[in-house]
């Protein structure tokens, strides 16, 4: 991961905009932003993140690579698409936010302990393992993210809902041990590998 970051720094030198254009999903749109501010004003999460989209786009153009990629702003995006429908330049802002987050994660620059990022990792690993989401493991993974005591406390708080799910057969405790899986797990893994290769090629990522 660290190597990939060093490789990127060497390849693009100080041209962060170009790096984003080539390597980030929908990154080629960034230069179309005219800094009107509608996206930032439209974001329901507005006051809660360090840099609203408009500012992120300006920072990219200003070459603030470290600040952008290590920022937790992109991780705050809830995919409400308010900005996308209002942007006068029709930038796919939501997609760019996720593109930046993914790229920062790949380079190992994304902020540690960012809840959205932690959840994304848990979810991805959970569902790609067997090709099926194991909800019980995923939920417990989230509960115990911050340690044993915090996990027990959260589980205890949610116990009534848990029992309700159990009674209505929406929760199978045996999932914790084996869990259901899709028939052709090998096939799924091969497919994901192929997709990764295609993506790497499209975004000129080192193999």
């Amino acid at each position: 991961m660290g190597d990939m970051n060093i490789q990127a720094i060497e390849q693009y030198r100080s041209d962060f905009l170009k790096e984003v254009e080539e390597r980030v999903e929908e990154g080629h749109w960034v230069k179309m932003c005219m800094q009107c501010g509608v996206c930032s004003g439209s974001c329901p999460f507005g006051p809660h993140w360090a840099h609203p989209p408009q500012e992120i786009f300006m920072m990219i153009r200003a070459g603030k690579r470290e600040e952008v990629l290590s920022s937790d702003s992109m991780w705050m995006c809830t995919s409400c698409y308010n900005c996308v429908v209002r942007c006068p330049r029709q930038l796919p802002i939501t997609q760019i936010m996720h593109g930046l987050a993914t790229y920062a994660h790949r380079l190992g620059l994304a902020p540690r302990n960012q809840p959205t990022r932690d959840f994304s990792i848990l979810f991805w690993e959970n569902c790609t393992k067997t090709g099926r989401v194991n909800e019980l493991k995923l939920t417990l993974g989230v509960y115990f993210r911050e340690g044993l005591m915090a996990g027990i406390k959260k589980a205890w708080n949610m116990r009534n809902i848990g029992f309700g799910l159990l009674l209505t057969k929406r929760l199978n405790p045996f999932e914790l041990f084996k869990g259901h899986a899709c028939k052709d797990q090998k096939g799924i893994h091969a497919m994901l590998k192929k997709a990764q290769e295609i993506e790497a090629r499209r975004h000129k990522l080192p193999a």
């Binding site: 005219m34 800094q35 009107c36 501010g37 509608v38 996206c39 930032s40 004003g41 439209s42 507005g46 006051p47 840099h51 609203p52 408009q54 500012e55 429908v85 209002r86 006068p88 330049r89 029709q90």
Partner: protein, 427 residues
């Protein structure tokens, strides 16, 4: 203005705004025969509905008055009002236009005494005040109307109101039997000058136009400031009639926006700068104007006007396109939400009134013009396809009056060359 017989040396001008009037007059003053077709009952177009003109802040009366005087003094122009061109056939040097005219129900005996209007009881929304107030169903469009002749609205035809109008007229000018007519007019060249219309503000959903009474458009604001307007020149809020002293202007309302109009409407920055001076004129140092903008485009030599307004302490500039407008339920004050670009500060600003600097769209879109023309992606005319049809004024682009007039003169130069060629061929 005698009746001129149209031939293939005639120049047909469609649209009688400042551009069409200029084109008609300049061609006529070169000795050409001109037919000027206007859709509404009066010439003048949208400039007649402005309170003052930038950059000198004079009233549109003077500019229009000069043109009307030239028009009255010229025998080469035949004006047909309340008429539209529905088809243009033929080719350069030999066109035939189909012109459909609607009945005015008032003939040339009218002296504009106004007796019919006093007799009539029904009222209709007044289009010359952007429907902000009402006018009698027998009316003179506005003080500068040309021809100075009343109009009877078709909605009262067949009702006792129409009969009342007829009975009231001492000059026998009310003719309720008038019918729609279709004329064929020959022309060697055509100048298309149908101008612009304000973009439909209700389509800009987050700004609440149509839902919030205190959100209006810049064209409506011109009427509020005008002594001939619905409030007699007082800047009052539509919701409660209170004086609006703290006014927000939102730039690029509909313009420069892929979801609405793609182009920059070019004059609205200047229009808002001008309108801040209406606020100053009305309230002096107590007035408050705030312009929310992406960037101010005071086209070329108007930069000094911008600088003058920047020095005015009652005018504030916020570099930000407003994201959305909410409304205070109790006071009905519009509340503007956004983030400013100079520092990325989030704001939530309350104003008495919001004026949307509404974008300019072509009033007849390129595709709807009944002739072959090449239009840009916004529907403005770029060129005629067969060399004898020319655009002028705001039919070709979002222009101010000065540039509209220049563009009209340019189109006349081209049209005159076409009919001169015809004349030489026939000589």
């Amino acid at each position: 203005m005698t009746q001129a017989v149209a031939t293939n040396q005639t120049i047909l001008v469609v649209g009688g705004g400042i551009s069409g009037m200029t084109a008609a007059l300049e061609a006529a003053e070169c000795g050409k025969q001109v037919v000027l077709v206007e859709k509404l009952p009066t010439l003048g177009g949208r400039t007649a509905l402005l309170y003052r003109y930038f950059p000198k802040l004079c009233h549109p009366v003077c500019g229009l008055e000069i043109n009307l005087r030239r028009l009255r003094g010229n025998r080469n122009v035949r004006v047909i009002t309340m008429a539209e061109v529905t088809a243009i056939g033929g080719s350069r040097g030999d066109y035939t236009a189909t012109v459909k005219s609607s009945p005015r129900y008032v003939n040339e005996n009218c002296t504009a005494c106004g007796d019919c209007a006093r007799a009539v009881e029904s009222e209709i929304p007044n289009p010359y005040n952007y429907n902000l107030n009402k006018t009698k169903a027998a009316y003179l469009p506005h003080a500068m109307a040309f021809p100075q002749r009343y109009v009877i609205d078709p909605s009262i035809i067949g009702t006792p109101d129409a009969e009342r109008a007829k009975a009231a007229c001492k000059f026998g000018a009310v003719d309720l039997g008038m019918k729609e007519e279709t004329l064929q007019i020959k022309a060697g060249a055509v100048i298309w000058a149908t101008g612009w219309q304000p973009y439909d503000a209700a389509k800009i959903q987050p700004y609440g136009y149509g839902r919030f009474p205190n959100v209006i458009t810049s064209v409506e604001f011109e009427r509020l400031a005008d002594p001939h307007g619905p409030t007699g020149g007082k800047i009052l809020r539509p919701s409660d009639g209170k004086e609006a002293k703290n006014i927000a202007f939102i730039q690029c309302a509909g313009s420069r926006d892929e979801n609405h109009l793609r182009h920059c409407s070019r004059i609205c920055c200047m229009a808002s700068l001008k309108q801040t001076q209406y606020v100053r004129e009305a309230y002096g140092d107590e007035g408050r104007s705030t312009i929310y903008y992406i960037d101010i485009r005071a086209i070329d030599r108007f930069e000094d006007f911008y600088q003058k307004v920047q020095k005015d302490p009652t005018v504030k500039f916020v570099k930000s396109k407003v994201a959305r407008i909410a409304e205070d339920r109790a006071t009905r004050d519009p509340i503007l939400h956004g983030v400013d670009t100079e520092g990325y500060h989030r704001y939530e600003n309350s104003h008495d009134l919001v004026v949307l600097a509404i974008g300019m769209a072509p009033s007849v879109k390129g595709a709807d013009i009944p002739a072959e023309i090449i239009a840009d992606s916004s529907g403005f005319i770029e060129a005629g396809a067969n060399g004898g049809i020319f655009g002028a004024g705001c039919a070709t682009n979002a222009l101010d009056v000065n540039r509209s007039v220049q563009s009209a003169t340019a189109s006349v130069l081209r049209a005159v060359q076409v009919v001169n060629k015809v004349a030489r061929a026939e000589a």
